[in-house]
Structure formats: C-alpha cells, structure tokens
C-alpha cells in the first residue's frame, strides 16, 4: 500500500473561490486521512489564510470530483481532479 501515505491529485478553483485562493489549479499530495470532500476542505483550510477565507463558509462552496457534482460526504478515493466553485450562475 505504498500509495496509502500520499497521493497526487489535481485541484481546480473557479470564480470567487479561485480569486480568494489565488490560483486556478494546483497539484497536491493528500494524506491518506483525507477521505471525503469535507475532509479535503478541512485540510485545505489549514494551508493558509487565503484558503481559510475562501472556505470560511463552506456551505457556499460546491465541489466536483472528476467533472461530476458531488456532496461534501462524497469519497475522493481514486479521484484525479477535484474542483471547488460557487453555486453556478450560467444561462
């Protein structure tokens, strides 16, 4: 289980989440304790004030795993790309 320690994943940020975080995408290595989207949000919030501010009201931030909408309790096991963004406003 060599991948149990850390696994690479691509994170994407859009709209005001991107502006607050300060970047549109990044590659990170996640500790194995980060199992769900909610775990990932908690982990991100420890990375600095820009992250804690962007995710301060986490109910305003939506997530997608591998380009599909998910809820906070969704597993991120095997995920290659995880995106965070505000509620959508197209149309």
């Amino acid at each position: 289980m060599s991948e149990a320690l850390e696994r690479p994943v691509r994170l994407l940020y859009f709209a005001w989440v991107r502006e607050r975080v300060g970047c549109g995408s990044e590659e990170v290595s996640l500790p194995s304790s980060v199992a769900t989207v909610a775990d990932l949000v908690d982990w991100l919030k420890t990375r600095g004030p820009e992250f804690s501010q962007a995710f301060e009201r986490s109910e305003l931030v939506r997530a997608a795993v591998d380009k599909a909408h998910v809820k906070p309790d969704a597993s991120i096991s095997g995920a290659r790309e995880i995106a965070f963004f505000p509620p959508v406003t197209g149309g």
């Binding site: 709209a15 380009k67 599909a68 995106a83 509620p87 406003t89 149309g91």
Partner: protein, 152 residues
C-alpha cells in the same frame, strides 16, 4: 442532440435550419435565447464575463440533454452557451428543442434551461459603469424552478 460552448455569437435561424434540415417528422420547434440585461437586481450592468469549467461544462450539458431526451419524445435538441466578455443585448445561451408535437418541445426547453442554470458550471461576473465587479449570486428561484421537474 448537440451541445456547444463557444465564444462566437450564434444565429438562431441557421441553427434551427441545421437542426431540422429536410426532416418531415418534426412538427414543433421551440427556441429559447438568453440575453444579457442592462440591469440585474437593481444594479446597472456595463459588461458581463462568463467563466466556465472546461470539460465539466460539456459533460454536464450532455448529461442534462440526455435526461431531456429520456423524458420527452424529442427528435432533436441543441444547447449553445457562450463564454467570454459581453455587453447588454448580447446573446448568451440558445436552447432548441424539436418534437412531433408542441408540448414535448415546450416542456423540454424549460427543463433544459432550468437544469442548465442549476447544474452547468458557468459563473457570471458583472461590472457596473463605475468599473466595480461582482460575482453574481445564485438565485434560490433557480433551484426552485429546477426542483419542479423532480429528481430528473
């Protein structure tokens, strides 16, 4: 059965012609065009920028369209959404539905727009005449409109 995300404007009548072609089994075509307004929630709008999530946008629009096709007897459908920078009066989104009879075409067009507005990963940023920019907040009414179709 097509979706497109593009910067260019669209022409409604040529899109309808391309979709219906020589077919004689289509008795009803409904088109919806969404445009940029000069005011939103009391704010004057000078320009609007549309950001999206490349890859997911197309995947989500295809999922939404597949749901509509499964639910109504559609002969053809088209969703075109523009991205980039806009001014009031610009076209933003086009939905075309074609069916043998009008009811399916009307309902499916409404469904496609309601789902697009709550599921497709687009975000609008408005700029007022003084140059102040703000991200548009999602409207609760859009969720309510999508909910009327059930779980889809």
């Amino acid at each position: 059965m097509a979706i497109r995300v593009q910067r260019e404007d669209f022409n409604v009548s040529s899109e309808v012609d391309a979709l219906t072609g020589e077919r004689t089994d289509i008795g009803a075509v409904v088109t919806f065009v969404g445009r940029v307004r000069a005011a939103n929630e009391g704010r004057e709008i000078a320009s609007l920028t549309l950001e999206h999530y490349p890859g997911m946008t197309e995947a989500e629009l295809e999922r939404i369209e597949a749901k509509a096709m499964a639910r109504w007897p559609l002969q053809a459908s088209l969703v075109v959404h523009r991205i980039g920078d806009f001014v009031p009066g610009d076209n933003l989104v086009l939905v075309v539905t074609a069916s043998a009879h009008r009811q399916a075409a009307f309902e499916a067009a409404g469904f496609l727009m309601d789902y697009l507005k709550t599921r497709a990963p687009f975000w609008k940023k408005e700029t007022d005449p003084e140059g102040n920019s703000t991200w548009v907040d999602a409207r609760l009414g859009d969720e309510t409109a999508a909910d009327r179709w059930g779980s889809g």
